[in-house]
Symmetry: C2
Subunit: 97 residues, 2 copies
């Protein structure tokens, strides 16, 4: 696993930015806040995302209150963003559709 | 649902404080950080706690990263702690044993 290169970074991040992700100002990490109808919907989505996270051995930092889930993705091993973050972000978006 | 009275507060909170909960300095809310062996253990516990939270219609604010879960409990309807928070805190401790 490697940190995203300057070349691929823009190309990979651009569609995620369009989908509501943003790069954190103080960390090489991306974040997004998902809003669901209620707690059961939010936690149901988290459960699906958790299974993929565990399967890929790549875990989010996330905060939930009622129907809201704030997710932060980064790759600790490379101290910044890697393709695993891109992959998990896309999966999370797909699961939320 | 009512906010905890001054009379019952100490009696109800004392065993929770002993169990690792603390009252937040700036809010009438209690918090505790649970540590599990890994993500699967942490999220497994969250899933059990989520089912009780939904059943009781009383939901935590919680943050998870890998094996760590930080929980904050308060009752928005009474703008502070109620017996529901005590009940959910005890249940969460029980599920973590």
């Amino acid at each position: 696993m490697e940190r995203l290169s300057e070349e691929t970074r823009g190309t990979l991040l651009s569609p995620l930015i369009d989908a509501g992700w943003s790069v954190q100002p103080d960390r090489d990490a991306i974040e997004k806040t998902y809003k669901f109808a209620d707690f059961a919907d939010a936690f149901g989505w988290m459960t699906k995302a958790a299974i993929w996270a565990e399967k890929w051995d790549h875990h989010p930092e996330w905060f939930n209150v009622y129907g809201k889930v704030k997710v932060v993705l980064t790759t600790h091993d490379v101290d910044g963003l890697s393709t695993l973050d891109i992959k998990l972000a896309r999966k999370m978006d797909g699961l939320a559709e």
